[in-house]
């Protein structure tokens, strides 16, 4: 397997071009300023983040995407906190990427991945709220002809303290919109928060329990047709031919179109008609060289990397190889992590309407700007003739951020039917075989002890796939993919949580043709399993308690230690467990948050695991909505344990074998352990941490470590179903 698969880098290049192109439009609409910018209903925009209607409704603009993680509510809380508005009158809306580009990216980054929604925008959205508050106060002061210092704002009401006069935001918004925004605003101390920091309910729950929430799959436009699509099942392959005449007379079928050089779609009145015809359509593929690849050939290639002389160094101190050579005792193990599909509940979809003058797309996206870039590229139209209308996502998990293959397809189909809106919806089967998969990785770990059983060295050799090499090759550092070392890095948002005298963590890059992607948690998922299971192996090799062994290496990592101690204490580490119950733990720093887990399990028949209880601790520096964080922690355990027990995408003849939930299972309620979430926001000036992903990675090692305690069996390849280990 020494050929290099062809990679389409067009989408990224265009993404950069699109943003530059937007700036080059030269539209200069001031932030505030004398000319009032209006929302669609005519209400004045106080600034880009805040629109206030005459009835005092506050519309908060949200650039990031809501896909279940609660970022919509959290960001609104942060703006509302500084705005001093009435939370019960808050609603939200998404600005479009087209508007953002035309306004010099006034809403900043739209990307909603890497647990970034809140942690990388909290400062400027709070400033947006604070600036609007000051403008509203100033407008009231001007009307009353009093100094603004005598005016205060609370709960959407402005009061002139000396006279007791009051007015509301809705009454002064029009005037406030014309006021010069303050140059700088002071943000509140989080200890004074009244809306942020509280476990307020989600703003989007009602529509989600009544069926009114419109997802991409639910969009309806006048005259809309529906499309079903099939791409070459071997990624990188092409379409050779298809026999449209065989299906064009089937009920509802309007057109059969080639999509790019590797796909074919049927457009029909209803999706079932489109899918039925697509299933009947004879297609011949040019699968190419990749059709020779199998899971076994990939595993063999990765295995060779475990001892390859060439590797990128991600973290090193001392001389780990020397420490291993001189060790009084050595411990060695090899782990392997499989391909996995995101399996969002809502399959990929997008709706496009193309005319030679305009291209509009409606769809679920974790990054409106990436969808916009894909729309520009596929339509061939400039930025001022395109736009993307975001809708809430039925799950994202990393599949709908950097990757807009489905948006590109929708536009390419719509382009062949100008003037007709077309909704493209993938079947679950298409979604399973055209994923952007969690990359495969193997890891050989060697630990070295001196004669006194002190750990003197650790070498972790990763061998496997780089996501950036495929998705953003320009982000590689002299060929190295720094993301591969998430959770193992020398410093930063994914820093290694131990101090070891001699350390070497390196990566032999092996990139099979299966397209890799950012899969919720990304590379911490495998790295936490490798490291945290092996830490248990090391402790056990020298007869030490697994928690005490870790603590000795964590003196320089107080925040890691705090979350680890918290779960250990809550689970009752060191105290007798109930009969037949065993415990395991793990911790990690990821996305600038510190997380730990401790699990209690029992095992029957040697292979049926019941996870009774799992405790998660999270230190995200600041907690914007504790109730939603608790839900992210519980949901992360489901995501992580589903992967551990059930999920693997295998490759045969170059294609992914799993096609639906019957062979790619996901946990159900019967398997749900009791989750206890401990929040330990430590405050201070450290970067804020994200909460949508980190906890996933500690679920598996905590359970695997407990399983070893219960059975003496150390499992090092996944998922557990491959070892006939089940979830009871």
């Amino acid at each position: 397997m020494n050929y290099v698969p062809k990679i389409d880098r067009r989408s990224f290049v265009v993404s950069v071009a699109a943003m530059g192109g937007g700036l080059a439009l030269g539209l200069d609409i001031p932030f505030g300023g004398p000319q009032v910018i209006r929302a669609q209903d005519g209400s004045p925009e106080v600034n880009a983040w805040v629109v206030i209607r005459p009835d005092d409704t506050v519309v908060i603009r949200i650039a990031r995407s809501e896909m279940g993680q609660g970022t919509l509510t959290g960001l609104a809380q942060l703006v509302a906190e500084e705005l001093e508005c009435d939370w019960s009158k808050v609603t939200t809306e998404y600005p479009t990427p087209g508007q953002s580009v035309a306004r010099k990216r006034v809403w900043g980054d739209f990307s909603t991945g890497g647990s970034r929604g809140i942690r990388t925008s909290h400062e400027y959205v709070r400033k947006g709220g604070a600036a609007a508050r000051e403008m509203l106060k100033q407008a009231a002061a001007n009307e009353w002809k009093v100094p603004v210092s005598e005016v205060s704002a609370s709960n959407g009401v402005i009061t002139h303290t000396p006279s007791g006069r009051t007015t509301t935001y809705g009454k002064v918004a029009e005037a406030a919109a014309k006021i010069e925004p303050p140059k700088d605003v002071k943000l509140k101390d989080p200890k004074d928060w009244k809306i942020a920091g509280k476990g307020v309910k989600r703003l989007d729950a009602l529509d989600k329990v009544t069926g009114k929430q419109v997802y991409g799959t639910d969009l309806k436009l006048p005259g809309m047709l529906t499309a079903a699509i099939k791409e070459c099942p071997v990624q990188g392959g092409k379409i050779k031919s298809f026999d449209a005449a065989k299906v064009t007379t089937m009920p509802g079928v309007k057109k059969v179109v080639q999509v790019g050089d590797s796909g074919v779609a049927v457009v029909a009145d209803t999706w079932w008609q489109a899918k039925t015809a697509l299933d009947a359509l004879p297609v011949v593929w040019d699968e190419g060289e990749n059709a020779k690849v199998s899971s076994a050939s990939i595993a063999e290639w990765l295995k060779a990397g475990l001892d390859a002389p060439e590797a990128f160094v991600g973290n090193a101190n001392g001389d780990a190889k020397d420490a291993v050579a001189k060790a009084a005792k050595k411990v060695e193990a090899v782990y392997a992590y499989p391909y996995q599909n995101h399996a969002c509940m809502e399959p990929m979809n997008a709706t496009a309407l193309y005319t030679p003058d305009k291209c509009e797309v409606w769809g679920p996206t974790q990054n409106g700007e990436a969808a916009f870039a894909a729309t520009l590229a596929a339509s061939g139209l400039p930025a001022d003739k395109c736009d993307v209308h975001k809708v809430h996502l039925g799950g994202g998990f990393g599949r709908r951020g950097a990757f807009h293959d489905y948006t590109t397809q929708a536009v390419l189909i719509a382009k062949q039917m100008p003037g007709t809106p077309v909704k493209l919806l993938w079947s679950r089967e298409e979604d399973m075989v055209q994923g952007r998969y969690h990359p495969v990785m193997q890891c050989k770990l060697i630990g070295a002890f001196d004669a006194n059983n002190n750990l003197t060295g650790l070498h972790m050799r990763l061998s496997g796939q780089s996501i950036l090499a495929d998705v953003r090759p320009e982000a590689l550092q002299n060929g190295k993919d720094p993301l591969t070392f998430q959770g193992l890095a020398p410093a930063g948002e994914h820093a290694f949580g131990y101090s070891i005298p001699n350390l070497l963590i390196d990566h032999a890059m092996r990139n099979p043709h299966i397209k890799p992607g950012f899969w919720r948690g990304v590379n911490i998922n495998q790295n936490a399993i490798f490291l945290e299971c092996f830490m248990d192996e090391l402790a056990q090799a020298v007869g030490q308690d697994e928690l005490e062994f870790r603590r000795k290496l964590m003196g320089q990592h107080p925040r890691n230690l705090a979350v680890l101690n918290a779960v250990a204490e809550r689970i009752g580490w060191g105290k007798p467990a109930p009969q037949g119950v065993y415990r395991g733990l793990a911790h990690m720093k990821a996305f600038d948050a510190y997380v730990a887990a401790a699990a209690e399990i029992s095992v029957t028949g040697g292979n049926k695991i019941k996870v009774h209880r799992i405790v998660g601790a999270t230190d995200p520096t600041y907690a914007v909505n504790p109730a939603q964080i608790d839900r992210q922690v519980a949901g992360s355990f489901v995501y992580g344990l589903s992967a551990l027990f059930y999920q693997e995408c295998t490759v045969k003849d170059g294609r992914i074998e799993q096609t639906n939930f019957d062979n790619y299972n996901s946990m159900r309620i019967a398997e749900m352990p009791k989750v206890e979430s401990i929040l330990l926001p430590s405050g201070g000036s450290d970067p804020w941490g994200g909460v949508g992903e980190p906890t996933i990675c500690v679920a598996a090692p905590a359970v695997l470590n407990a399983f070893f305690k219960a059975t003496g069996q150390r499992v090092r390849s996944f998922p557990l179903k491959n070892h006939n280990i089940q979830m009871a």
């Binding site: 069926g211 997802y215 209803t270 509940m345 639906n660």
Partner: protein
């Protein structure tokens, strides 16, 4: 032409009788609260009631339900008042992405009709819907709360 009764309203639909009920509801009648997740009755996102019984509409052909009473998520609230399961869902702030939740709520509403005070074991065997966001802990709490409510 097939006669369908959906949420108490009569519909005449002119589609292939083999079409799954899911797609008749979504594309022909226009009720999109019922979701497509897998098409093979695995995930439960498409759950509706047929004569009061929870069924996965992606795997029920139109021909099998002609003349029967179908209830979708849009018909669960009565006279403008949310169903007790929907209320419990709001009280416990259950949904995350929400895509699977309508199917989950329909499955739970049918369970409570059959077993007004379900045990955890009843829930485990009956509610087999997939939720990738992992809302199960809140789902269980909300089921018990709905069962305890009037």
């Amino acid at each position: 032409m097939a006669d369908l009764s959906v949420n108490g309203k009569a519909h005449q639909v002119d589609v292939d009788p083999n079409t799954p009920l899911l797609w008749v509801l979504r594309d022909t009648i226009g009720l999109t609260g019922t979701k497509y997740g897998c098409g093979i009755a695995q995930c439960g996102a498409c759950t509706v009631h047929v004569d009061g019984i929870a069924m996965r509409s992606c795997s029920v052909p139109l021909s099998a339900v002609a003349g029967r009473q179908i209830t979708t998520i849009e018909g669960l609230a009565q006279n403008g008042a949310l169903h007790k399961v929907q209320k419990a869902w709001l009280d416990h702030d259950v949904p995350q992405c929400g895509y699977c939740q309508c199917g989950m709520i329909m499955a739970v509403a049918a369970l409570l009709k059959d077993k007004p005070k379900p045990t955890d074991a009843d829930i485990d065997t009956t509610i087999t819907n997939i939720c990738r966001c992992g809302t199960f802990q809140q789902v269980r709490a909300a089921i018990h709360a709905a069962a305890a409510s009037a």
